[in-house]
């Protein structure tokens, strides 16, 4: 069973109001390790993640998590099944303090001290602003909080939408090590990222989306090594961007 993917999407179609956004997405997230979901703006990455979380409803197709069909489950049930989600727009609760944000994220009720220390080491700003309203945090600090919320308790699968947007290079480094460290544990990660440097540093497998479909799936190493492929899929050349 171990090589059975933790998350499997088959033929997922999603509509938002009158718009047909996803046109049959097939995606596998293997157990353990990091799967990168890449693609241009508007390709449907965020929509895919939201569909997995049940925030949009798949009109057709199925989503299986850990062998279980979660296509029709309510969002809370999906989260309880063991998925943590970092949304694109961060969605920190700005009325609540940083501490309260974290307390809510720890569903067991109490925050594990050791793990909190670890989070503080990665994102020192959170410690400084622990008792401040999250609304006053800077853009990057909100991003840190949003990621911290997802990793404060162990989960089977972590779904992260553009975690490095607006982060300073040093924090991006931290972020990379966070994911590297998480990889050591049993966690599987599905990561959407525009920062190709980061994608290359942490990604094991990769899927590229365009126009509501997955147009390429393979290992990160293959993609990183093939500039023509990058140019075709992502419109970029690695050489120009470190």
């Amino acid at each position: 069973m171990a090589d059975d993917p933790i998350l499997r999407l088959r033929g997922v179609h999603t509509h938002i109001g009158p718009y047909h956004i996803l046109h049959g997405v097939d995606l596998d997230v293997p157990r353990g390790g990091v799967t990168m979901l890449l693609g241009r703006n508007g390709a449907g990455k965020t929509t895919t993640l939201r569909t997995i979380m049940g925030l949009w409803r798949a009109g057709q197709g199925s989503v299986h998590f850990d062998g279980r069909d979660i296509t029709r489950l309510a969002t809370p049930a999906i989260a309880q099944a063991g998925i943590a989600y970092v949304p694109e727009n961060m969605s920190v609760f700005s009325d609540l303090t940083v501490a309260e944000n974290m307390r809510l994220a720890a569903r067991s009720g109490a925050i594990d001290e050791q793990r909190l220390d670890w989070v503080f080491r990665m994102f020192p700003a959170l410690k400084i602003f622990w008792h401040q309203r999250a609304g006053v945090l800077s853009g990057g600090q909100k991003q840190m909080l949003s990621v911290a919320r997802a990793i404060i308790e162990p989960r089977q699968l972590l779904i992260v939408d553009e975690p490095t947007k607006g982060l300073a290079p040093s924090i991006i480094q931290n972020m990379i090590s966070v994911f590297c460290e998480l990889k050591q544990t049993a966690v599987s990660i599905l990561l959407v990222e525009q920062n190709f440097h980061m994608a290359r540093s942490v990604g094991d497998t990769v899927a590229v989306m365009d126009d509501g479909r997955v147009v390429h799936a393979g290992t990160m190493a293959d993609l990183a090594g093939d500039e023509a492929l990058q140019q075709r899929l992502l419109g970029l050349s690695l050489a120009a961007h470190q």
Binding site: G39, R40, A168, S170, I176
Partner: protein
């Protein structure tokens, strides 16, 4: 434009601490610094969203510190926001048209029909052309993809024709193939020697390619100011900002122990 000892405190926390800096016309200054360094807050002070606790803002030698936001905009301080802020249910064209109309002081015209103002229309069209959004002009903004919204944010700034352009991470979250449109535009503005450009950016390659000068903010304080190459090489930037990070497995093992 110039700031003198510009400071703001939130309770006991000093978010921007006595920043004095002069910006010359025709120069593009990049502002870098870690997250929470006070870059956005510094912009908020200059453009008036936040009131300064101390210090002065001078525009062309005139003190504009206490002017309200709209007045500052009219004097020529233009701003694009880090978190996209547009008129979501209006069309792309209308977003830009409103900016042009504001610049031409037509807002309080009660009894003419808006579509009869040709000049406004034409200028708005021109701005849309420049940010490559002309073909989407009739779409409501809410339905635009993220990248296009960022472009529109810049388009509105263009329509205002300010003397000082302030960009706050204009390319954040943009896919790599979209970024050049914005960068070329900023470059173009830079060519017009009468404009001052301030740019907050975390992507070092962008900073390198555009900046005439870099200032570094850290915990609200101005830590470095000068020539790009020099500043980037300085230890403070290398250490505090870029975080020279030797990739190692030790940290990972350590962390694993702490929660495994």
């Amino acid at each position: 434009m110039e700031t003198r000892g510009l400071t703001i405190r939130f309770g006991g926390h000093v978010a921007v601490n006595a920043v004095s800096c002069a910006f010359r016309a025709g120069e593009l200054t990049c502002i870098v610094g870690p997250n929470g360094a006070g870059k956005t807050t510094y912009f908020n002070l200059i453009s008036g969203q936040l009131p300064a606790s101390a210090g002065q803002i001078l525009l062309g030698g005139e003190d504009v510190t206490r002017l309200p936001v709209p007045e500052k905009t009219r004097r020529g301080i233009g701003r694009a926001f880090q978190l996209t802020s547009l008129f979501p249910n209006l069309t792309v064209f209308e977003n830009v048209r409103l900016a042009v109309q504001a610049r031409l002081h037509l807002g309080l015209d009660l009894f003419s029909v808006w579509s009869h103002h040709r000049k406004v229309r034409e200028q708005a069209e021109a701005c849309l052309e420049r940010v490559a959004l002309a073909d989407k002009r009739h779409q409501p903004v809410a339905a635009l993809p993220h990248g296009d919204q960022r472009k529109l944010e810049v388009g509105i700034l263009l329509a205002l024709q300010p003397r000082v352009f302030m960009f706050d991470e204009p390319t954040a979250g943009m896919s790599v193939d979209e970024v050049p449109v914005i960068l070329d535009l900023i470059h173009e503005i830079k060519q017009d020697r009468s404009k001052t450009v301030l740019l907050v950016e975390h992507k070092m390659d962008v900073v390198r390619s555009l900046a005439d000068r870099i200032i570094v903010l850290h915990n609200g304080t101005l830590m470095a100011d000068g020539d790009p190459a020099e500043v980037i090489a300085s230890p403070i930037v290398q250490q505090a900002y870029l975080g020279v990070a030797p990739p190692d497995g030790a940290g990972a093992g350590n962390a694993e122990a702490s929660h495994g």
